[in-house]
């Protein structure tokens, strides 16, 4: 099993062999983000910025005007909070072609604790115009997404990750920006997940299957722009929906999906995510258990949303009829 950050470093180094258009910027966390792998292979294309993320973001904007494509790398908590105003005003507003790649997402960060557990990055990035958000679910998808992200003309926030992850996809996967991918088909309930939670959602779907509940499972790896069409179609088909993210319950994937539903076909929906609190230092699995991010939590949410769907169908409430 590879970690997403390792996969990111390897993918950068691999891609750099065939294209010489990009450089990687680091804020003294190369070992943490996986870019040390790239640095060893392409030291001349690695720009050390020191522990100065704010300067780094604006420097990247400047670099992008000189015929080079900068990939800024750091931990998500700094990319999404400490230096976010630089991302907004130096990169997003002037629409410079800069990519921001961040590791250390959510409670998956584990023992480093709440200061380093970015639980707000989706909420923050989602609210800034001109930025695309990509959050692959496994090393294969990350590998496939990277060239697409680099070819996209405009700022992109790319999430990697910290913990080792098994592969979900094989080499036949094609990554399409702006599209959610149905990775399991089913009719009773739709589960939409992102990042590390896609793995837990697969386990949840297996468990539900054993109870006779059939799930459609979607990997929503582009969080912005969100795949409205797929959300609406899935809601219409299943009549209820569960979202799962290792992110605060406010402003992330669940919010994005709820916004679409509220404006189209509001069906019963449940969100699995961090319940608007700061967690603690621990092994990521222990954190997932204590803060309700396990497959069983997705199963509970699915059962609950199915009950609501059934009640609404019985009473006729909430169907608009």
């Amino acid at each position: 099993m590879k970690t997403m950050r390792e996969a990111f470093g390897l993918a950068l180094a691999e891609l750099a062999k065939s294209r010489d258009d990009f450089v990687v910027l680091d804020a003294d966390v190369a070992g943490g983000t996986g870019t040390h792998i790239f640095r060893e292979a392409f030291p001349d294309r690695f720009i050390q910025c020191g522990i100065a993320e704010q300067n780094m973001m604006s420097v990247a904007a400047g670099l992008s005007t000189t015929g080079v494509l900068p990939i800024v790398t750091c931990y998500a908590v700094f990319a999404s909070l400490r230096a976010i105003e630089q991302v907004r005003n130096s990169i997003a507003y002037p629409r410079f072609n800069v990519k921001i790649a961040a590791s250390h997402l959510g409670l998956d960060v584990g023992p480093d604790g709440p200061t380093h557990q970015a639980i707000e990055d989706l909420a923050v990035y989602r609210s800034i115009p001109n930025i695309t958000i990509v959050s692959p679910a496994d090393p294969v998808e990350l590998y496939k997404a990277l060239p697409v992200v680099l070819d996209h003309d405009g700022p992109v926030y790319l999430r990697t990750g910290r913990s080792p992850l098994p592969t979900i996809f094989d080499d036949r996967l094609s990554f399409e920006l702006g599209k959610g991918k149905i990775i399991r088909e089913g009719r009773d309930v739709t589960i939409i997940a992102v990042g590390v939670m896609v793995h837990r959602a697969i386990e949840a779907a297996d468990k539900l299957q054993k109870e006779g509940i059939s799930c459609r499972l979607i990997n929503m790896s582009t969080v912005k722009p969100i795949d409205r069409e797929l959300i609406v179609e899935s809601a219409a088909r299943a009549g209820c929906l569960v979202t799962a993210e290792d992110h605060n319950i406010i402003g992330g994937l669940g919010s994005a999906v709820a916004e679409v539903l509220a404006e189209t076909i509001p069906v019963p929906m449940e969100r699995v995510g961090i319940r608007d609190l700061f967690a603690e230092s621990a092994d990521p699995n222990d954190l997932a258990r204590k803060y309700h991010l396990l497959p069983d939590d997705i199963v509970l949410a699915a059962r609950s949303v199915l009950r609501r769907k059934k009640n609404e169908r019985t009473t006729g409430e909430g169907t608009g009829k």
Partner: protein
């Protein structure tokens, strides 16, 4: 610099000040104090130093002027209009709906604007990125970035001073418009910058201190910066906030955002040689 050149620069700088006052009156708001203090520096840069004009402004080899103190954009708009990037008619739409001249510079709306500055500190770091990119690409353009003194309160600026020295960006010159005032008060009453020269030198930069209203000083400082190799240069330009409009000089009220009205408007227009403006 001979006497004719000096007089020509004085005329061009006076015209920049006139444009600033006119724009400010049209808009009814804006930041006149820091635009006026930088007018001589900007006049020198645009007419003597920069290889930058409407003919080459998309050429990768052009020199870059980056206004990091974005709130002083009226001086940049004045210089760009003077150089023919757009008509002075645009002044009438400054800060107004559908205008190309925003309250702070917008690179996507205004031709000749390199960076959408306004959030202090960011233009400086952007300029460092441009200078580093130029060196990496083997391009020989030079980068000029104008900062405010109050802007030096921002931590990002000091991250940038470390970065610039580390990468030996001798193709970059930072100019500090040291007019001694920031938004609310004297810089020395907010969080004092002194000893500024020593601070900058200790960060590894070549430091030159000049009178920012003296074209001979400016000529000497920029020429020295060109000769400095292996480290970036910073010019500490001592200036007068509101320079040229008597009642705005050294008065923090005229930092902004505001414009003169009534008798003050007439006086400002008269002092910059524009008595017939109909608003």
């Amino acid at each position: 610099m001979d006497k004719d050149e000096k007089e020509q620069l004085e005329r061009l700088a006076a015209e920049l000040r006139k444009y600033i006052v006119i724009m400010n009156c049209y808009a009814g708001s804006g930041h006149p104090g820091g635009a006026l203090s930088a007018a001589d520096i900007v006049a020198y840069l645009f007419h003597k130093e920069l290889n930058f004009s409407p003919a080459n402004y998309q050429d990768p080899n052009r020199d870059r002027f980056i206004l990091s103190k974005g709130h002083s954009c009226m001086v940049l708009y004045a210089a760009l209009a003077q150089k023919g990037f757009f008509s002075t008619e645009e002044f009438k739409k400054l800060r107004r709906i559908d205008g190309m001249l925003q309250g702070h510079p917008d690179r996507l709306k205004t031709p000749g604007v390199e960076f959408s500055s306004g959030s202090l500190g960011q233009g400086f770091s952007f300029a460092l990125g441009v200078a580093l990119g130029g060196k990496r690409a083997g391009l020989d353009f030079r980068v000029y970035v104008l900062l405010g003194d109050g802007e030096l309160n921002e931590g990002q600026v000091w991250e940038g001073f470390m970065f610039g020295a580390h990468y030996r960006l001798d193709n970059l010159v930072a100019i500090i418009d040291y007019n001694k005032f920031q938004s609310d008060d004297l810089t020395s009453n907010i969080t004092s910058l002194e000893p500024l020269h020593d601070k900058l030198a200790s960060f590894g930069w070549q430091v030159v201190e000049i009178n920012g209203h003296d074209f001979l000083d400016l000529e000497q400082a920029f020429s020295q910066a060109r000769k400095t190799k292996g480290k970036p240069s910073v010019i500490v330009a001592h200036t007068v906030k509101g320079k040229g409009i008597s009642f705005m000089e050294n008065n923090p009220k005229w930092h902004g955002s505001l414009a003169p009205v009534g008798a003050e408007r007439h006086r400002a227009l008269r002092e910059c040689g524009c008595e017939d403006l109909r608003l």
